[in-house]
């Protein structure tokens, strides 16, 4: 908020708000959640997916996509948390890595992970997918430690790396076919499935083009299609929208929301802070540490110290009038934005808006407008990181 005037700011508390996402068990699940019968750490058994035959899943178009059923016949499902971590740490070199991550991502939700470049987002994904092992901490992904993942457990995962890892010498269709084979998508129906995914990412007409001749945006779109080809239950998407146009980015997010509504869980990192608004919960990472984790609204409150209200009076207020205004609005911070225009940080914008009208009348002031202000997530992010840096400096 620029040169904001600090009032008596209450200590920000980490929100304990649960995810607003409600898992709709009536929706078809991506993949039959049968996992290893020997569930580690004694996870409870759920039975909500028993209605879906092993190896089948409903696609976007309502078609049934089948994968070769390499999974066990017994039905044992893990906890409600798709990802659960406590004190997860991995240090690559002194001071570089991820430290003390606590995560609890409910199934069927979108979890956004934002942070500056080099903050540890990709490393976190690599820890969660089992590509690398943590130095310390506890971690369960779909009820299992990633270090214990076998091929069955991995068939539930989808991973879209940050950079294109597909093959430049293959066509887009061949690349997608390769990804389908990696995850054992059956030959029967595969052609239709591949076409459907190519169509979804607007690459159907370019399917015979070599990947090396495709643009960066096309390559990202293909990578997303390759991640979704086997309809995974838990998706790890590392900056999926980087380098693609806003229209397609919106389409991607619509698709993510569709997938969430189907009961799938999405862990997504992004460099577009504004995309945090699409997430059910957002974690903010800085220098390997999770500095905030909350709903998008909760993060705004954390960053700004409350809700933000823009008030415009007919004429500029005196210093005394401003002091009384701040007192009446119980504002923790305020900022003059022009003659008669003030931005206040308050506990509850709705309550304060009503009170301010009465206060103005009582003080012979004319209020032209009172509007809540939604600070962009870029500002929220900058505010959170700046505050962390300031805190560390004062600690230092």
């Amino acid at each position: 908020m620029g040169d904001i005037n600090e009032g008596p700011v209450p200590e920000a508390e980490r929100s304990e708000t649960e995810s607003p996402v409600v898992i709709d068990h009536s929706q078809p699940r991506a993949v039959n959640p049968e996992v290893d019968p020997i569930a580690p750490l004694g996870m409870d058994v759920l039975d909500e997916a028993a209605a879906f035959p092993a190896g089948e899943t409903e696609s976007v178009a309502g078609d049934v996509v089948t994968t070769i059923d390499e999974r066990p016949q017994e039905t044992v499902t893990p906890t409600d948390s798709a990802v659960w971590a406590r004190g997860l740490s991995k240090e690559f070199e002194p001071g570089v890595g991820v430290f003390d991550l606590d995560l609890d991502i409910p199934k069927g939700s979108i979890f956004g992970f934002i942070g500056p470049s080099g903050s540890g987002k990709t490393s976190t994904i690599r820890l969660l997918t089992g590509i690398i092992a943590a130095d310390s901490g506890d971690l369960l992904v779909l009820g299992k430690s990633p270090l214990e993942f076998d091929r069955i457990a991995r068939s539930y995962l989808g991973y879209m790396p940050q950079l294109s890892v597909l093959y430049p010498e293959l066509t887009l269709r061949q690349n997608l076919n390769f990804a389908a084979s990696l995850f054992s998508v059956r030959w029967r129906g595969r052609r239709r499935r591949v076409r459907e995914m190519l169509d979804f990412v607007d690459l159907l007409s370019a399917r015979h083009r070599l990947l090396r001749n495709a643009s960066g945006g096309m390559q990202r779109r293909l990578a997303l299609a390759a991640t979704l080809i086997h309809e995974p239950e838990l998706l790890f998407l590392d900056e999926p929208t980087a380098g693609i146009d806003p229209v397609l980015r919106r389409k991607f997010w619509d698709r993510f929301i569709d997938l969430k509504e189907q009961g799938r869980t999405i862990f997504v990192t992004t460099q577009y802070v504004g995309e945090a608004a699409y997430c059910d919960k957002v974690g903010v990472l800085s220098r390997g540490r999770l500095i905030a984790i909350d709903t998008p609204e909760g993060l705004r409150r954390q960053a700004m110290g409350g809700e933000v209200l823009d008030v415009r009076f007919e004429s500029a207020l005196t210093s005394e009038q401003i002091s009384r205004l701040v007192e009446a609005a119980r504002a923790t911070r305020w900022e003059a934005r022009g003659p008669g225009e003030y931005r206040l940080v308050v506990e509850d914008a709705g309550d304060v808006a009503a009170d301010l009208s009465q206060w103005a009348t009582a003080n012979s002031l004319v209020v032209e407008s009172v509007e809540p202000f939604q600070p962009p997530f870029d500002d929220v992010f900058v505010e959170l990181v700046t505050r962390l840096d300031a805190g560390e400096e004062s600690d230092g």
Binding site: T129, I132, N177
Partner: protein, 517 residues
Amino acid sequence: MAKPVERVKGRFMRAMAFFKKDTVEVFRQPRLLVTLVLGPFLILFLFGVGFNPEPPVLRTVVVAPSDSGIAERSEQLADALGPQAQLVGTLTSVEEAEAMLASGEANVAVVIPSDVVETVRGGEQAVITIMHDQIDPFESSVVELFAQSAVDQVNREVLEDVVAAGQGRAAEIGAPLPVAQTAVGAMIAAVDANDRVAFESSRADLLASLDELARRVAASDAVIEAVGEQTLSEPSGSALDSALAKADQLNQPGVRDERAEILTALKQNLEDLEADIENFQAIEPAVLVSPFRGESSGYGGIDVDFTHYYIPGVVSLLVQHLALTFAALSLVRERTLGSVELFRVSPLSGAEALAGKYLANVVIGLLVGAALTAASVFAFGFQPEGSWWWYGLAVLLVVLASQGLGFVLSALAKTESQAVQYAMITLLVSIFFSGFFISTARLLPAVQVVSYLIPATYGIKALQDIAFWGRLPSIEIILGAVLYSFVVGALALAFMRRRVTAAQLSRKQRRLARAAA
């Protein structure tokens, strides 16, 4: 547990995905194929076509004293040295010859000493000096052989002259022989007629002619005995001695009744002597001087053409180079591209990925091996003596062993250019140590270990056995190649597992975790 059939289907599908991907990737990069296969093949092809197995022609000058008589015969001498020597001048001064060598006008100077007769009479060999301008050790050794051959040729020429002179002298030696034969005939007639006077008269003629014959033989003894004894079944000297002994016997008392018998034997001795002299004159001097010459032929009638000999080597080397490079590049590319990150999250296992890659490389390697062999058949008329099936199997073993080595090398390479460098170094090592240019038998036993770390070594030996001997390769070679393939394959699998598989608990750790749960 998962159905075994489904599990196998899944494994097969993932392995085939790698097979298709790697095959398509290779054929989509024609320039890579050209660089790796056609390039080296064309180089070796040009070498095979352009290599002249004959030693180079040496421009030769002869330096001889003007009064030696050799100067006049230098052209004849050069002809006798064969097509390798091209006479470009006959000089009398060594300095002139050195100037020609320095300017490159001549490659070789043959310097004949001026005091040959005196040196030989002094009981020493006269030294013919050969000077040359070759710095290549191989070419130098060729010139040394040429020099030795030149000196031998000069010696032979001298000996042939001596022998020819001896043959001319043999006619003179035999001149008294008809007189002796006539006398013997007259003596036989005198015995029959019991004419003592005629007998004694003829005996005097016989003794006189035999004495003359003996004197001439004694004068030419060196030639007749040195040459004749080595070539004639009955030495002419022995027949003459026998004839002289019988002539003396006729003069002894108490042989009157045996005279006819002695004269018949004497007549036979003279006929033998005449035949010996005729034989000696009829034989070519060159044969008398060099009665033996060598001829070699391959055992079993095998005569391997120079170009054909290198075809198994070229096929083995290029197939090895290709399979090794593609294998190394393929894995390094997965790593640099970042695909292994995706593999680690997928159900893919190292064995599945490796199986697919092996299969792709086998297909590509066999295709390239077939193309190279076909080119050899059509361009050089190459036709193996043995079975084509065994030939194909040997190429397959080279492919399997080579790509295993390629996968192992890829563990050391961090970038594609490093992988290519390792492949080129392996090719270089193979050219020297695989038996391609020089036989592995010429290497020290300790160094031969290096040879058997190269897949092409097995391929070259096996293909040579099949192509030239028409027999199966030795069991040591086959087992060696199979064992080699297994060892590098196992190393490749361990490496691939480490690359493709995500971080995992050990089995023991898993058991402990389950027990704790």
